[in-house]
Point group: C2
Chain length 228, copies 2
DNA sequence: CGGGCAAGATTGTCTGACAGCCTGACTGTC
DNA sequence: GACAGTCAGGCTGTCAGACAATCTTGCCCG
């Protein structure tokens, strides 16, 4: 621990495997809606567009399929996963459960500087509540980064990240509800207040409440928005 | 519904993709400890042993890596994942949270015949508590199958199944503790009693307690058993 | 006895190819 | 004119072979 910049993530890691780069690229394209749910992902097209070979493309699609972002139909190929409202509700339910667990762990284990960082992250969320959606997302990502760092469980972080990514598949209409960003900020403030008070149960409950509200907002928007 | 055997699982689907067969094969080999944690999985050896081509092997390894059963080190290849005690504890914690959620859903949604099936599954667990480990596992698998069918969430089932599989990576010493099967059966009986009483909170709490006990047993065994 | 170097082993990736299945259009018949 | 059967094309599933990059291992030399 003498030099933190040394071995930030083990020595080398200069050139990430090509496959990892492509996975990240395609995943971001899906989460950024440049690839829309239901859209077919034809292997040959990806080969041409990305300039990589077909075996690599296939490995990438398999990986994203296990993550739940693409759905592979045998003999038919891959499509960007289109969530059913039921699936989305289930995913939110699991998020509520696991993020409450993360918050509880945070209260029990996080160092004081982690608590400070979490407070700062909520401050930032409140500040950006009326900014562009992209800035809001960035602030929220920062919040979760601090939360999971402080709660200190790699498997938990990995699983929740996967759930969040899948939920994002229907994010199109969830952020743009008037007043919702302010509500969300207030709910997260309640979480942090409980964290600062050292009340794990209250913090977990507040966190679960936040996710439930977010789910309600997103799902009602889904039902009333599109007749499909 | 005139003829149930008709379209049992849609007409064809006779020949599952080769890749899926191989994934199942390797996964079962890992969970059955025919491939031990830490063991290297050399692509060429798998090619020869399984009689399939290298691209297929690579897709299989990538898929199992995302599932967490194998760990891929860049430029070094794949090894069967070896859990650290901390990781195992975290996985049990997540299982407690999510299986409690599943039980709660079961209380709220399951049909009466599902409840009956769950009772029957616990009966079977009690009956096999002193039988061979394989029969115990089979009874437990049956219990979970009923539980998740009744709680009706595919994403939840999928996620928990993944967690259970990863936990099983250290199952070697967890079942053979004297008296533990009887304890586990009693704990699951408590879950089912609460389910029959329609008390979702009690059932979820009982379920979480069961997982916590299982975790304690498995982890203490891990710490005292091997100096590694 | 330690360190550097070379050979072997293994992964990462590409090219090319072929069989099987699904989709969609075309054509022939009623 | 509408419907059904057939055929061509597209795409996936899988294989074989090959080559560069990189890591490991063991040997040789200082």
């Amino acid at each position: 621990m003498a030099d933190p910049t040394w071995s930030a993530d083990q020595v080398g890691r200069v050139a990430a495997p090509l496959r990892e780069q492509v996975v990240t690229l395609v995943r971001d394209a899906i989460l950024g809606f440049r690839l829309q749910p239901g859209q077919r992902l034809v292997e040959r097209e990806l080969v041409e567009q990305l300039g990589i070979s077909r075996p690599t493309v296939r490995e990438v699609l398999r990986q994203l399929a296990v993550e739940g972002l693409v759905t592979v139909v045998p003999q038919r190929g891959a499509v960007v996963t289109a969530l059913t409202p039921d699936d989305a509700a289930d995913l939110y339910e699991m998020r509520a459960s696991l993020e409450a667990l993360a918050v509880r762990r945070f209260v029990q284990r996080a160092a004081p500087e982690h608590v400070e960082a979490l407070v700062a992250a909520v401050d930032e969320i409140e500040r950006t509540a009326r900014s562009a959606p992209q800035e809001q997302l960035q602030a929220k990502d920062r919040f979760y980064e601090v939360l999971f760092t402080g709660s200190g469980s790699a498997p938990l972080q990995q699983t929740v990240a996967g759930l969040q990514a899948r939920v994002r598949l229907l994010r199109a209409t969830s952020l743009s509800v008037p007043g919702r960003p302010e509500e969300a900020a207030a709910e997260l403030r309640a979480v942090v207040d409980a964290v600062q008070a050292g009340d794990a149960d209250a913090a977990a409950a507040a966190c679960a409440r936040h996710i439930e509200n977010a789910a309600r907002t997103a799902l009602s928007r889904l039902n009333t928005g599109e007749p499909a």
